[in-house]
């Protein structure tokens, strides 16, 4: 257990910036935003670490916790910078990858190309041997063909191998046997076995996940060793823990073996932060809303936990279209990412309709208002033209904002097509992009069987607090919280992640015929495995065990998560499970279906050891109170008329301050827009609460 007075450091290496945060006890002592050094990302991280140590006036000896997250794994997959991979699948099934789900990802697009799944057919090998769905061996592994495979693997110059044999989630013997035989002959070939990477039924998903792991394994193993060596040489004394996609932390050793679990760990940090704030303010149901420069990420939080998924897609051909990427089946914080950010570009389609995104002006050249050569009108340009961004205070003055250039961009390409002036064009762009985000949130809630309207929105990211009221209103959400330091949410989130490991594994049963002894043995196997991983990252502390059965009616597709007791099952549990399932089914679909068989294919186990941490929002920094409020003219999003509104410095707002919208609250990396139909209140932690005023109340 980490002592409350220890120093802990988190480093989040993103595509553009590396964020470093140092906390002491419950409070942030220092932060640094340094440019990412793409050739050798560890250099940027070292710079950030030295910066925060220096400004806190401590040395490595004082640092007792170190958490690292990186986009390197994600980027290696997107940019195709991984190893040369071969696959071995069961004989007769060479084309699992080519055939996939036999589906086009876009209904009307005749000229689509299928996603590139890394391994061409030339590199796909097979071996005889067969298990059935319950894990019984039907045909032994044909070891006589191993010689030929060894030759193929040598001749092809492969650097990594992904092995995925049918039903290995039920019985991994053939995969293990094959690996043992190959390792003896090819000791330098890195091998990923599907039953270890993703022990779930569905051969296409499991193979893709195994390939993704194999593909980045040599690169990540090298990176992690180097990272560790350099930080140790620098003076780091404590172990390094790695942030994973599921919002937990794991050891460097596990990360080296299962690097695919590091993919998308950065955004997960944001969700972890939102979940922790949810607990601090005792709001169990939350929509986390993280809007940056290129995309917006949405995550549902229930019972103070980010909603988890077992599958996501990487490297999509069309970034925001489902099915256009490579499926990866690992435990992951479920995020919806849409192409809506400050840099999203507005265009007119052939029906004369205004569209926003998913194309983005990115950071370079960026929105037209940045005056760095961008000419396309963007969401940020629209915000500037509505007066919502104060040029003098934007990004602490590090970026200059030119409202005239923003207006020119709007007038040039969009305004004339809609017969609108620049400010109303700007308002139209906001309405469209805010509607896009609200739709994505509503859609995600429906897909998850959840309701949005009673949720608290926690808004962060560079543009989250600016668009929060406008998106919330459209999503029927009436309360919003903007945390302190909304611009560095992910890295702060890392510091509250537990040490954890989760396994999802397939084992098909009909609930009425559940063999209790079998399932207990099945779970004990998973517990042992997860314990080993977790204990190597946190040797003491009480472990929380969470068991879930993914239950469904026989013949129905939608699975419902039902929590199991964290112990061996006994026969009387079966009836309880059935009742729990029917209760939850009724909640989601209004009616249960009597007499329908209930089946379970997938089970999950997670073990986590929470990191003790005082609220980082506990102490308010010294404030310069009483700074006179400035005013600005903004285009009101409610009435559509220009009006003068106060501009307040967030640092100067004391707890219990109440502000009636419209108003702007500014801070170094973002602006909170209090719309006319919202009021703002500061709580004792320094959070801003925005509450919609019921219609007719004003």
């Amino acid at each position: 257990m980490t002592a409350a007075n220890a120093y802990r450091m988190a480093i989040d290496i993103g595509g553009t910036f590396t964020d470093t945060v140092l906390v002491h006890g419950g409070s942030i002592r220092a932060t640094a935003k340094t440019p990412t050094t793409p050739d050798k990302p560890v250099f940027g991280a070292l710079t950030g670490a030295r910066d925060v140590l220096k400004s806190a006036g401590i040395d490595w000896g004082d640092v007792t916790g170190f958490i690292h997250g990186t986009t390197l794994a994600t980027n290696a997959l997107i940019e195709r910078r991984g190893a040369k991979v071969a696959t071995i699948t069961t004989s007769g099934f060479r084309d699992i990858l080519e055939i996939g789900y036999e589906r086009r990802y876009s209904q009307y697009a005749i000229n689509i190309e299928k996603p590139d799944l890394i391994v061409p057919r030339q590199s796909a090998f097979t071996i005889k041997g067969r298990m059935n769905a319950s894990g019984q061996e039907l045909t032994p592994l044909d070891v006589s063909t191993v010689d030929g495979l060894v030759r193929n693997l040598e001749d092809g110059g492969f650097e990594a191998l992904a092995i995925c044999l049918l039903h290995s989630y039920a019985n991994p013997d053939h995969e293990r046997q094959l690996v043992a035989l190959l390792q003896a002959r090819l000791p330098h070939l890195v091998m990923s076995q599907s039953h270890e990477i993703s022990p779930e039924a569905r051969e296409f998903d499991r193979l893709c996940t195994t390939i993704a792991n194999a593909y980045i394994q040599p690169l990540m193993a090298g990176y992690l060793s180097d990272f560790k060596a350099r930080f140790e040489a620098e003076g780091l004394k404590c172990p390094i823990l790695m942030m994973t996609a599921s919002g937990g932390m794991t050891t460097v050793e596990t990360a080296r073996r299962l690097p695919v679990r590091l993919v998308e760990s950065g955004p997960a940090g944001g969700a972890v932060l939102a979940a922790r704030i949810a607990r601090e303010v005792n709001m169990p149901e939350v929509l986390s809303f993280d809007m940056g420069g290129t995309t917006a990420k949405l995550c549902l939080i229930d019972d103070f936990r980010p909603r988890m998924a077992r599958k996501f897609e990487i490297a999509r051909t069309e970034r925001f279209i489902k099915g256009s990427g490579m499926p990866v089946r690992i435990p992951v914080v479920e995020m919806i990412e849409i192409g809506a950010g400050g840099g999203s570009i507005a265009t007119i389609d052939r029906l004369g309709r205004l569209r926003v995104g998913p194309q983005s002006a990115g950071a370079d050249p960026g929105p037209a208002a940045f005056n760095k050569g961008g000419t396309d009108p963007t969401v940020t340009d629209a915000d500037v033209s509505q007066g919502l961004i104060d040029p003098a205070r934007f990004a602490e003055g590090r970026l200059s904002i030119d409202p005239a250039v923003a207006e020119h961009a709007l007038d040039k390409s969009i305004g004339p097509a809609l017969s609108l002036d620049a400010s109303h064009t700007a308002r139209g762009i906001s309405e469209i992009v805010d509607e896009n985000m609200a739709s994505a949130a509503r859609m995600h809630a429906v897909e998850s069987g959840k309701d949005l309207s009673n949720r608290l929105m926690i808004a962060f990211g560079g543009n989250g607090p600016l668009h929060a009221t406008r998106v919330a209103r459209r999503a029927q959400i009436s309360r919003i919280l903007v945390p302190r330091d909304p611009g560095v949410g992910s890295a702060v989130g890392f510091l509250s992640a537990p040490v954890s490991f989760e396994i999802v594994r397939s084992h098909y049963i009909i609930l009425d015929k559940l063999n209790i002894a079998d399932i207990n043995r099945f779970f004990r196997g998973m517990v042992d495995k997860a314990q080993t991983v977790v204990r190597s990252g946190a040797s003491d502390g009480k472990a929380n065990e969470n068991r879930i059965a993914f239950m469904r009616y026989h013949g129905q597709g939608h699975e419902i998560e039902i929590e199991l007791p964290p112990r061996d099952l006994i026969s009387s549990d079966i009836e309880n499970l059935k009742q729990a399932f029917e209760r939850e089914y009724t909640r989601q679909f209004s009616r249960a279906i009597p007499d329908m068989k209930i089946e379970i294919l997938n089970w999950s186990l997670s073990i986590s050891i929470p990191i003790h941490m005082d609220s980082v929002t506990d102490n308010i920094l010294d404030v310069e109170h009483g700074a006179p409020a400035e005013t600005r003219k903004i285009l009101c999003d409610v009435t559509g008329h220009w009006r003068s509104v106060p501009v307040l410095d967030r640092q100067s707002l004391l707890p219990d301050t109440e502000i009636q919208g419209p108003a702007l609250i500014t801070e170094p990396q973002s602006t909170t827009f209090v719309s006319a139909d919202f009021s703002a209140k500061i709580d004792q932690h320094g959070n801003i609460w925005l509450t919609q005023i019921p219609k007719g109340a004003t």
């Binding site: 789900y101 299928k114 129905q556």
Partner: protein
């Protein structure tokens, strides 16, 4: 008047609402084809019954069938009799979607006590009695229960007699009931969201937004049509039929402001259930055209109106009651190839070659009397696909659904839930039609019972006798082939068969046709195909003129 940008936001919202409706339906659905393939439809209509938005779902079989169905229902029931909480239903193939399994619901939506429009949805139910999902009924009465348009909910009260009738006439009463509840939830979700939207944007009716959506879409569609050459083109497509080949004919007229497809000359209906009601043939025909003409314009009354489809009464693409129609998708899914044959003449170099087109579904069940023999009882609806036709600038897609959007099955989950064992599932070498662009490859599946029992198989597939033709001088794709391993006999594409315990079914799906002369194929890509085992050295020599 509503400002223009606000109208656009409301349109976006309506499109989001229908997608939400669709999701609500798919989540709760029982029928595997709904869940795996999104064989559903959801839409919103204005008070005049004009479709304003339709969800983009997995299969095109409901495109504008729903639009026409809602019109029919509205003519059937006077508006003044409609009350909040009413929902109407029918599965009449000639009103809903071409066969009895497809249920269509329509719910009038009231806002401030005024009827402002309606929501509607369609979904495929597992079993409606009769002979079941197969081509062997000789009339519609053999195919199961037909429910004429009637009230399913009356002021929120469920028509329990109707539900009893549906349950009593099905082998899958529980699943059917679940699917009907899913449809009700879908209509209600749409209605709720629509009213919410009316409040949020302070609307009292949908008139202005309806006019905006329909007129904008119509204008966009007509301007896309304006870019096409004008004229009349004809195409004829030979298909396997049930036991004797049939000819489908189409004449495409491209006029200034509309397209007309006429199936005149198409063979008459037969006494097997592969006849196609015109609403369903229209859905696939219009889908195919819209893939090429204005694919980015959403489906609604305005964008669909310029696409008109007719056919002589009683031809197999305009089947009349009481013709059997259970497997109407078998030929319905061939209509894109039929109409592309016309369009390719108008737009050379822009239209793909013929593909496998008809999905190769493989419905399997325990054999009759299995219960008495203590065998495992099961029903599986596996779907496998062949290759798509080569595109003008791209190869065809191997083992990929088109025009339907069905998902293929996974071997591991299939074997977990049913007593079958799949021995092989691989691409068929040389099955893609040779061409400058190669057709997509079909696949070969081998399977048997995993236990000591017979399996019953229901076939209704095409392209066993008539392979997918190449375009512009390219070669044809390989025909489909279905065999039983034990005695090596070929099975016809349609009918009911038994796979004996221990015997193996060999199921080979067709390849797509090529595009452009094979001699013009890029040599590097040919080499790569040979290297990958997609094209054999022999075929490279014989079809592509490869010399080395």
């Amino acid at each position: 008047m509503i400002p223009n940008t606000r109208l656009q936001v409301i349109w976006d919202r309506l499109l989001a609402v229908v997608e939400e409706q669709g999701q609500a339906l798919m989540r709760a659905a029982f029928s595997p084809i709904v869940r795996e393939c999104g064989d559903i439809s959801a839409g919103i209509f204005d008070a005049k019954g004009r479709m304003l938005a339709q969800a983009v779902t997995g299969t095109p079989g409901h495109i504008n069938t729903m639009a026409m169905a809602v019109e029919t229902l509205r003519n059937h029931f006077p508006i003044c009799d409609m009350r909040p909480g009413d929902i109407y239903v029918t599965n009449d193939p000639w009103i809903a979607s071409g066969h009895l399994n497809d249920f269509l619901l329509m719910m009038p939506v009231f806002h401030d006590d005024r009827l402002i429009g309606c929501t509607s949805c369609t979904s495929h139910l597992v079993d409606m009695g009769g002979l079941g999902m197969g081509p062997d009924g000789t009339d519609i009465f053999d195919e199961g229960l037909l429910i004429p348009p009637c009230k399913l909910l009356d002021g929120g009260k469920l028509n329990t007699l109707l539900m009893d009738i549906v349950r009593s006439n099905s082998r899958e009463p529980i699943a059917n009931e679940g699917d009907i509840f899913a449809l009700i939830a879908c209509c209600e979700t749409g209605a709720d969201r629509l009213c919410q939207m009316m409040r949020e944007f302070e609307l009292t009716d949908l008139d202005e937004i309806a006019t905006y959506i329909i007129e904008t879409s119509r204008r966009g569609t007509i301007s896309a049509i304006a870019e096409l050459p004008k004229g009349i083109w004809h195409n004829s497509l030979k298909v396997d039929g049930y036991d004797t080949p049939l000819e489908l004919n189409a004449t495409l007229t491209i006029a200034d402001d509309h397209l007309l497809v006429d199936f005149d000359g198409t063979a008459p209906c037969i006494t097997k259930g592969i006849n196609v009601p015109l609403n369903y043939a229209t859905a696939y025909t219009v889908f195919a055209l819209r893939c090429i003409i204005g694919p980015d314009i959403p489906n609604n009354a305005g964008s669909l109106e310029p696409f008109r489809v007719i056919g002589p009464t009683g031809c197999i693409l305009n089947a009349q009651h009481p013709a059997p129609v259970a497997m109407r998708h078998t030929l319905g899914q061939m209509t894109p190839d039929l109409v592309y044959g016309c369009l390719a003449q108008a737009l050379p170099g822009q239209v793909p070659a013929e593909g496998a087109s008809c999905m190769y579904d493989l419905p399997l069940r325990h054999s009759p009397g299995a219960e008495d023999r203590n065998e495992t009882l099961f029903a599986l609806e596996l779907v496998f696909n062949g290759g798509t036709g080569a595109r003008p600038t791209l190869d065809g897609l191997s083992a990929t659904a088109f025009p339907s959007g069905v998902w293929g099955s996974q071997v591991e989950t299939t074997e977990a839930v049913a007593p079958v064992l799949i021995h092989r599932r691989e691409l068929r070498m040389d099955s893609g039609g040779p061409g400058r662009q190669r057709g997509g490859l079909g696949q070969r599946i081998e399977m048997s019972a995993s236990e000591d029992q017979d399996l019953q198989l229901f076939l209704s597939v095409e392209r066993i006798e008539t392979p997918a033709k190449g375009r512009d001088g390219a070669g044809d794709g390989a025909a489909g082939r279905i065999q039983l391993a034990e005695n090596g006999t070929d099975l016809p594409g349609k009918g009911t068969f038994i796979i004996k315990a221990g015997d193996r079914l060999i199921f080979e799906t067709p390849g797509g046709g090529g595009f452009g002369p094979a001699s013009e194929r890029d040599r590097g890509r040919l080499e790569s195909d040979i290297d990958a085992g997609l094209v054999s050295v022999d075929a490279a020599r014989n079809h592509y003129g490869q010399t080395s």
